[in-house]
Symmetry: C2
Subunit: 419 residues, 2 copies
């Protein structure tokens, strides 16, 4: 087999550990020089491929590539851009082939979530449908933890750890203040459709140190009266209560709670989060003093408190993608397979992309407590291993020493392309 170059790109919302996967892909590729030539990274994801804006990762030092393991977010730039159907939008695919041919690219590593798996699947079909030989391997990544088949998704363990610790620490705070001041703390977390991240808030509470946490899942229609009764009962028992609310919580009619049609003094519509909405309801219904926080990017960028397990899995899945490529595979994704023993263990499996693309994995019913406001022991058993271990970045002058790539562009060979 003639040696081919590889294309690597990051897609969709970034995570604390997606660069650890990039590190795995690049390091493993460098170890397989007989099969894989250079790794060209798309600047800003697939857009980099379409516009022939490629970063030559061979110009990055060994130290910088190692540094990607502990640097959050997408070092090569990500994008939200979904390739359209091959039959109706052939132009984009022809352009991809043109770019791949011009740069002798035979491997396509795409690092993303469900939408991105669809892009990767479409690229994998170039081989069959358009006669261009390419092996497309998807490297899973999503804080939402909603990809099928894989036991969990890189990026999720770290955001889960972040939310568990944020809930724990803020609960300590509100507990201190509750006698004369704040009694309820509301934390808004990501997860528009699946409640995996919200579920992690429950890990703040432990058998030997109970913390009252009420969770609002997107999977459970919001029932205001039932919610208020639950919050009040926690405040009665503990003196305070923490609420972890998923951004995607909706009422029985499917209307997002965050969408309150708020208007300012001039009648302009204001877009707010769901946390202030829930907090205001608590004030109205229970008259309790509250504080609220919206973690937003902080939760998925919080590399300083990433899960060691998550970092290692993200890195190893990057390496595994290269292994699959070297073995001649196409249209697959390496997965995390949980061992069956009582002690947590994991290994790497593989899944066909056709079974991964465009599928969302929601919280199973058996993971949500009967009242709808907490998790079951089964869910805790699933979540706890994923937040194990700390893997802090190096610090200098009090700050994490994250790396930035040089990002040297591969000289262009083609005419410009309009997106």
């Amino acid at each position: 087999m003639a040696k081919k170059n590889a294309f690597y790109a990051q897609s969709g919302g970034v995570t604390a550990v997606i660069n650890a996967s990039a590190c795995g892909v690049i390091e493993a590729s460098r170890e397989n020089k007989g099969v894989i030539g250079k790794v060209y990274a798309g600047r800003n994801g697939i857009i980099g491929a379409l516009t022939e804006d490629l970063i030559d990762t061979s110009k990055e030092s060994k130290k910088t590539i190692e540094g990607l393991r502990y640097t959050p977010s997408g070092a090569f730039g990500s994008c939200r851009y979904k390739l359209k159907d091959l039959n109706t939008h052939k132009r984009e695919y022809e352009r991809l082939i043109e770019v791949f041919e011009a740069h002798n690219i035979g491997f396509f590593f795409y690092n993303g979530g469900g939408d991105s798996a669809d892009t990767c699947l479409k690229v994998s079909q170039l081989s069959e449908q358009m006669g261009y030989p390419i092996q497309a391997i998807h490297v899973p990544k999503t804080v939402d933890n909603d990809l099928p088949i894989t036991d969990n998704c890189p990026g999720f363990g770290s955001v889960a750890k972040y939310i568990a610790i944020a809930t724990q620490e803020a609960s300590f705070d509100v507990a201190s203040m509750a006698k004369t001041s704040t009694k309820v703390f509301v934390l808004e977390v990501m997860g528009r459709h699946a409640g995996w991240i919200a579920a992690a808030g429950a890990l703040a509470s432990r058998e030997d140190q109970e913390i009252p946490v009420v969770i609002l899942f997107p999977e459970v229609p919001f029932n205001r009266a039932k919610f208020m009764a639950t919050v009040q009962s926690k405040v009665d028992k503990f003196g305070y209560c923490s609420v972890v609310v998923s951004e995607g919580v909706a009422d029985a009619d499917g209307k997002f709670l965050a969408d309150q049609g708020l208007k300012d003094n001039f009648g302009h519509t204001q877009l707010g989060g769901v946390a202030p909405v829930v907090a205001n309801m608590i004030r109205e219904d229970l008259g309790l003093k509250y504080h609220w926080a919206v973690a937003d990017y902080l939760q998925r960028a919080g590399r300083h408190i990433a899960s060691g397990t998550d970092v290692e899995q993200a890195y190893q899945l990057g390496r595994a993608a290269v292994k699959l490529a070297v073995e001649g595979k196409n249209s697959v994704m390496p997965t995390i397979v949980r061992g069956s023993g009582k002690k947590y263990s994991w290994s790497i499996g593989e899944a066909p992309l056709s079974k991964v693309a465009n599928k969302e994995k929601f919280m199973p019913k058996s993971f949500i407590s009967r009242d709808g406001f907490s998790i079951t022991p089964k869910c805790r058993e699933y979540l706890e291993p994923l937040i194990q271990g700390e893997d802090p970045p190096p610090f200098k002058n009090g700050m994490p020493q994250y790396v930035k790539i040089k990002g040297v562009a591969v000289p262009k060979k083609l005419a410009d392309f309009e997106l």
Copy 2:
């Protein structure tokens, strides 16, 4: 001198390191058994003294007290309660004396900010004005960093480190997404009157790794047009921009930006934060896609990423308070004195409470850049040493192992007291 017991209490908003001061007070008191008997902690601050709800810290193990050094928030409970004037509200002071006498209390350690220093000052006057012998020592604490005389306040260094890292990490995130999605990230931070915490956002940017950060200080009247021009220029240059906005930002008329008179569909007033307001303005004026976060309690409870310098200073000020007590001092506060050398050093001084109580230290003009949206090199020189060093708590099963006290109550000797 006959041996007397000590009273210790936490007051006002708690911090990531106020328990480190408690640890210092209790450990140093245990080392001075010849002078100080037991340390009784007020449950929920001064309310614990008024209601004779005292926690016997001698019932807490050495290990628990050591654990306070790395446990955030107020382990004994805090309160927002300000003693009124001695002449008009004598009843409360008489009650304090009653409780102190009943429990042989001769030392009063009060751990709080400016308002609390006022309470401590009033208690110190019991000695003179009401003939009850007590030594009142204030242990400084405030994330707002607004106490006079002391170079900085315990609690601030850790929140500054939290905000600097949050800004850095979120900026990495938005930089990755900016090509096709979010271009501006808005982070709301604490600081109603003083912009110290907001200033820390600027530490995200370093000489060797520039990050575009625009800061909105409460000290600088909000000028919408000027702000938008600054944000747009950063986006033009870097492709993205981060905004750190203090909760207390107001316009030229002194009206808080957060106070937008938002009403929901039913006409109910909604209380929101300033971050969504600023984000909405950016959408309206510049049409840029944004994300926003409100750190709220997470920033002051974030012990997992506390500043090592801050932890050590909080602990040593607790110890210093005991030293002052043993030396026979009354109505004083130990302070942090910055060394004059080029390399950062600090030692402990003391200040009379009359010069501390009810005084706020704002950002000096020389610390805010001429355009009003950043900090000066002088400010950076002041801030950087305060976030140095990491001092993570012990972890178990992926979570910080914070301690909870047993909180054994001292048997009551007096009749109940109505607050």
